[in-house]
């Protein structure tokens, strides 16, 4: 099966650009609704951070380090590198007796406008704490310390990544179709869209064991602290705030988005074939509307919904639309 048309850009009454992709809405028993190819193999990228955080909680490392919900939210975050995020991750590392130099995620300029401006205007280089994945890496370091493993925690055969792979294969119920190196240097395991949606359904309907408790705890941390999971002006934060704790959503690079919907016991995974973020954001927001979880008139989510696009003079120049049949 090929990718399905999901989101289109229209201008002057003509279709200017088209984003195709794959979407699966699943419960623990399997596919409930799908577009494109549920068997398409993808890299979840940062959309699976709550899966990568499972060993941190299940191993007892999170409790041993007395991690708070704020820290668990950061472990699942692709944050903006605002002072809020950088400060919290820095304190977390200090509490472990570690510092920024122990991270293996690399440094990049933060997305947060204020922090970016502070760095650029003071000619200060960003540090690894600014990396959008620094919270996930602080979680890896916490587990690394707990199991007394070596410092190169992003190596594929490091006990931390072996534990992550085991959890990933269990919750997707698939053997990893492969692995790649993510932007933050950590391994990222491949699975089908269906497998990723199934994993999210597991978080939506957690069991009573250690796995279920960890899933519930990570979901609760994400929805309790949407500002830590991404940041101001970001889709994940705006959508989670708008859904007031009912749903956790998480983006991943190259057009991936997932959702965890406990009240419906549903999980969602989607991948835009071309990797386009604008389409991934419009698609997940459209699905939240489709499931009655957001209000079309909520100004906080309007910019992520399909609708008119304006130019530098405020003129409407085009429109982002749902492709016919989606959803």
């Amino acid at each position: 099966m090929t990718a399905a048309r999901l989101i289109e850009l229209w201008r002057g009454g003509l279709r200017e650009s088209v984003h195709s992709g794959h979407v699966v809405i699943a419960d623990v028993n399997g596919i409930v609704e799908a577009w494109g190819n549920p068997g398409a193999v993808i890299f979840p990228r940062s959309s699976c951070k709550m899966i990568q955080a499972l060993p941190l909680v299940e191993s007892g490392a999170a409790d041993a380090a007395r991690l708070t919900d704020r820290q668990l939210a950061l472990a699942c975050a692709s944050h903006e590198g605002a002072a809020l995020h950088v400060g919290a991750v820095g304190e977390w590392l200090a509490h472990l007796g570690l510092d920024e130099g122990d991270l293996r995620c690399g440094a990049h300029l933060p997305g947060d406008a204020h922090e970016r401006r502070r760095l650029v205007c003071s000619e200060t280089a960003p540090c690894q704490l600014h990396n959008n994945c620094s919270g996930k890496h602080a979680g890896f370091l916490t587990l690394m310390r707990h199991i007394k493993a070596g410092p190169e925690y992003v190596e594929l055969d490091h006990p931390v990544q072996r534990a992550v792979r085991r959890a990933f294969e269990e919750v997707t119920d698939e053997k990893a179709a492969g692995w790649g190196i993510d932007g933050c240097s950590a391994p990222n395991f491949a699975c089908t869209i269906e497998g990723l949606a199934r994993a999210m359904a597991g978080f939506a309907a957690p069991g009573t064991g250690a796995r279920g408790q960890a899933q519930r705890r990570l979901f609760d941390a994400m929805v309790a602290h949407p500002e830590l999971v991404a940041g101001e002006g970001r889709a994940c934060t705006a959508l989670m705030r708008a859904m007031r704790g009912r749903v956790a959503v998480k983006t991943g690079a190259e057009g991936v988005f997932v959702a965890i919907i406990p009240e419906r016991r549903l999980g969602i995974a989607l991948k835009i074939a071309d990797g386009g973020t604008r389409a991934a954001e419009a698609a997940i927001t459209t699905l939240m509307l489709h499931l009655g979880l957001i209000d079309r008139n909520d100004p906080a989510v309007a910019r992520y919904l399909t609708g008119p696009l304006t130019n530098w003079r405020g003129k409407v120049t085009g429109e982002l639309r749902r492709a016919e049949g989606f959803p």
Copy 2:
């Protein structure tokens, strides 16, 4: 015919993302080589600025205002809003007895890192001169003054835009399939990929009349001043510099790229269906390599060719590849 796979992103031995689109290489007699659907209707966006500048030259307005090749290059530019570009367009308007307020392009933060930093760190708002289309608009104002037309030169029925539409339909040899409003508020007319490639072939093999002289003059201006057509760190500038006056290339929003190749009497037009810039740049650079116009080992163009992608720590994480069969 549907879009053809052109550029792919690979990670860990798996295809992570795919960009499809339409490509036509044409001479004045028609299609020489094509991928995807040559009849696909597109908006050329900024890739057709040399067409939008034809009435400026053909009307005698450019000569009456004593425009230099530098100004004609700016009329065809999507510039970075560097001090170089902002200063030159400002002087041009002053020479006409006009100022920034006469522009109708709107203001946006420039792409140029130095100028952007200067504005952000001094809390100065960008002005319309910073708009990447300000040179095109200065050309429109020059023609407007020459023909003594009213100030609202971006209106569809304004004499300037009627002249642009006439030239556009003549060089594409098609009746415009429609029109939209561009990011800079000017009308942008729709045509087929084949029509846009045919128009570029016309610039590559200009006749001896007023049209041919204008086409030759605009081509010469673009290749003589690649730094004015885009700016440092931009594909158009890097590729034109690398091809040392032999070829003019121009990008347009939503994944469009064109090329004018006089020595082969060829024109090229391509559109990435999803609007992806990374794929449009990789595709046009791949075609220049395919036609023997650039050297695979030229470090100045390496970042626009398909090849390895590295992350924040310099690790190779993936690879941009040509899809099978392209080119």
